[in-house]
Amino acid sequence: MRIGARHRTGLAPGRRSAILPGMTTLPQIFHDWFAAKGWSIHPHQQQMLDRAAAPALLLIAPTGGGKTLAGFLPTLVDLAAGSHDGLHTLYISPLKALASDIKRNLTTPVSEMGLPIRIEDRTGDTPASRKKRQRADPPHILLTTPESLALLTSYEDAPRMFRGLKRVVVDEIHALAESKRGDQLMLALGRLQRLCPDLKRVGLSATVEDPAAIAQQLARHPDPCEILLADPGPAPDISMLTTDEAPPWSGGGAAYAIPAVLDQIRQHKTTLIFHNTRAQAEIFFHNLWLANEDSLPVGIHHGSLDRQQRERVEGAMVRGELRAIVCTGSLDLGIDWGDVDLVIQIGAPKNVKRLVQRIGRANHRYNAPSKALLVPANRFEVVECVAALEAVREGALDGDPRGRGPRDVLCQHILITAAAGPFDADALYAEVTTVGAYAALTRAEFDACLDFCATGGYALRAYDQWQRLLQRADGQWQLRDPRAGQQIRMNIGTIQDTDTLKVRLKRNRGGKPLGEVEEGFAASLTPGDTFLIGGQIVRYEGLREMTVEVSRNAAKKPKVATFLGTKFATSTQLSARVIEMFQQESWPELPAHTADWLQLQREVSRLPEPGRLLIESFPHDGREQTVIYGFAGRNGQQTLGLLLTKRMEEMGLNPMGFVATDYATLIWGLTPVLNPAPLFELDALQDGLETWLAGNAVMKRTFRASATIAGLIQRNTPAARKTGRQATFSSDILYDTLQKYDPGHLHLDITREEALRGLVDFGRIEEMAQRVGNRIDHITLSRVTPLAAPLFLEMGRVPVKGAAEEKLLAEEAARLMQTSGLANITPQPASTPRWRVGY
């Protein structure tokens, strides 16, 4: 990593700022160092220094704007005198790679100035011996992740380790703030603040739509949090990639755009090509490679690839050895983007905010605009991209309010507290309510979580003898079995990567690891099947000890592997824009191929209109399909899917599943829908809704995730670590059992609250139904319509278990028995049974 013209430490040439009264002066050694580089301090860096005594500060700054140094200057200044012993500043980032990157960046000025400051990083990848030493002898600055921090607070020696802590810097806080990792981090900060009451908090964020919400999360409640806005830099330069070939009607691959993409790669130094899913990244990389006649060095990077492979790609990128990297959100945050001068987004950005943040990373020259190109994967995405571009131009970022802190994370926090030693419930409750997201938590809710952690919280008191926590005579709570602490530590974290299996090349003794795939996908493979991973086609050989063994095989056309990946937040604003566009007579702002496609939709069917509800029915893929174009945003369409499949099941229409996007719900089943009006009868919709929702796949998935975080289901056990086997209990069975015997259980309550975040309340559907009234346009066709085509490749399909499943099973069984010739074996029964017992 070179300094000089590169501005990764944020020491970009800024305006020369005069020292005004009231400003903190930099110590001489810092002045000299800046001067030697020909740099001066940025206004926001100076401000961060001036306000360093504030309990909480949030800095909103674009990438390359000197954010990191803004966060660390007060620390470096404080430590320069060399009088502080032990830990002074904690730096938290969402990515391990970022922590090591920042360490590199900081070490340079520190060593160049000869400051007596020890800086170390600590993540899951840090070797055990170093981790141990860090606890005993912590550095001045520790760079780490939320999970590693949670782990550190779980040790009995935590108070000693964190004793002198003065500051916490949370980087990329906008990314953490919208997930449970952020909640876990804030709970851990609440703990640290109890140990160090004068702790100062700093958050570093990219541009967001609601800085105040993040500020409120960051500060200790009810302390204030100042928000500092750095110069946002020039407006981003985003446009659509022009291609010779038209995009297809449906599909997520964007293979049609590859010649144009290769062209762009040739014209730029380093290009990042983002995809919305890992599977799409794999397919695109594969096709790109096939067309790469100039043998340009291109890499692939996503979260399901093996760590070493990812690190190799990251290293090559930093050294400028790659001309392009095909990637997913794994590259979204902070790691050194070297000479990236172009960002290509394949597929419509599922929300505008992420798009703007992504492209903020390209081209770190602070005063030059960041450049990005959008490549829609199909014609509908063309429309979405145009809408997104308008939104960016208007500066209209979007986002959904987060709601209160999730209680599953709170349960994990209680267990982590117990692992560190005996605790007082009152004190813990007081500590938890200093966390912004949990400020409104009632004592009763807290007690229910504590009860769950202690006894399982069941209506049936069965575990007194084996409870996890017990209350001592002096009122303090502690682990019944101190060894349980180890198990708690093994299961810290809120990231869901359950249900994946490792993939390795088949060798006699453990072949090269390639990455991971979803268990469901692995279960669908038979030896001989081929799929893509890490850009190569591999052949499935078999499953050995929960590892998928493969061999290299370039021959057959690969199946699409499914990978877990981040689910994108939805955007109601984008869908509102799109339906507005549909009302136009013509579309001069769209490329001809897309305008034609919309015109075709008008001819064979209709374009959706606000105030009316368009429903299409047609057969496809051996099933009867129904599409409801509500344009209600994804949560609304998902709710609609749940409600309508309930009605269809009741009416004997055999629904099998559904999938929802921002603008439509697609339902497939065995029986065609001839008249949709009765489906929308409000009374019928509401009747029995609770039961239907309770039994649905959406709830069960949510339950599994949340039960794992709270500790009801434990993914990692000491036994599993030894054998490498997962002994995961079926969460569906647990869910069903609770529904039957303990419907008031805490976890069902948590699950409902979680699930509702992804749904809208019934009132909204009522409103929609009333607004539409009887203005339903039902069009029956014999094949897929242009507008419906993209829905068939949507991810996030929700299965519906009902009569349809039994019908299908019966059909398939009959067919299998017939073809196997085993159907006709009917031996005659013998005489009555005779008992023969050895008494």
């Binding site: 006894t455 399982g456 069941y458 049936l460 069965a462 575990y463 003898q465 084996w466 996890r468 019944r480 079995d481 060894r483 349980a484 198990q487 279960a523 669908s524 893929d621 051996g622 099933r623 099998m656 599943g657 009801l712 434990q714 056990t717 209990f729 079926s730 069975i733 647990l734 059992t737 609770l738 039957k740 015997y741 303990d742 259980h745 299965p799 499943e805 039994e806 299908l808 099973l809 019966a810 059909e811 398939e812 069984a813 299998l816 028995m817 196997s820 085993l822 074996i825 009917t826 031996p827 005659q828 029964p829 013998a830 009555t832 049974p833 005779r834 008992w835 023969r836 017992v837 050895g838």
Partner: protein, 233 residues
């Protein structure tokens, strides 16, 4: 509760698959129980009662403690429908011997009630190898011609009914995979699915089951309508 000797309802008749094994006319119930009308004999395997207690004791994890009553509820329903006079629990009826001893009083009583007026046979399993403090007979195996009942399939099998493997079978159709606990049988042996609520399963295409069952083996998937398919390999 059905009156003794009352016929099954249409719904209940639907909920079983009739087949012949080693000369005996058997019915596989959708619940996973095996019903032999001619012998008025109901056989269930791998109940694993007390699993939640064992998990709490050994792993410090508190699962919902309702699996015993849930399993017994289903067993009670099967007994009511079939009016069985003999019951064979084919081994691993308890998750371990300590769990067996720790079964709460009311559930213990329930088992006793189910046993009333019936011949109840506990076959020893690998999880519960030893005497149990419950009424009934405790045996390693039992022959009821032409069948023999034991916990784990043996090498020399003829008309053998066993459990232990918790078999499951999966069928793919129109993009959906349906996987259920299943009975597996060929001309020589019949393997029962696990009946207990908190039991996992082993897919029929695993090496051990493929080796155990003959090439023409069939699988009967449990569920609302038990369904027979060639055993998936």
């Amino acid at each position: 509760m059905l009156a003794p000797g009352a016929p099954m309802s249409d719904e209940q008749i639907m909920n079983c698959h009739e087949f012949t094994f080693a000369g005996a006319a058997l019915k596989a119930l959708g619940s996973g129980a095996l019903w032999w009308p001619d012998a008025a004999l109901l056989c269930v395997s791998d109940l694993h009662l007390g699993k939640s207690e064992r998990v709490a004791r050994r792993a410090g994890q508190s699962l919902p403690p309702y699996e015993t009553r849930d399993t017994l509820a289903r067993l009670a329903a099967d007994l009511a429908h079939t009016q069985a006079r003999t019951v064979i629990c084919l081994g691993d009826s308890f998750d371990d011997l300590t769990a067996a001893a720790a079964v709460p009083e009311d559930e213990r009583l329930w088992i006793t009630q189910l046993q009333a007026g019936r011949r109840w046979i506990w076959i020893e399993g690998n999880h519960d190898p030893g005497p149990l403090e419950f009424g009934g007979e405790h045996l390693q195996d039992i022959e009821v011609e032409p069948l023999v009942f034991r916990h784990i399939a043996s090498d020399q099998a003829e008309g053998e009914v066993s459990g232990h493997y918790h078999p499951k079978a999966a069928v793919r159709t129109r993009g959906r995979q349906i996987s259920r606990p299943a009975f597996l049988f060929d001309s020589k042996r019949l393997v029962l699915p696990a009946y207990g609520t908190y039991t996992g399963g082993l897919r029929s295409h695993s090496a051990v089951l493929r080796k155990l069952m003959g090439p023409k083996a069939l699988a009967i998937l449990t569920g609302p309508v038990p369904t027979c398919v060639p055993m998936p390999r």
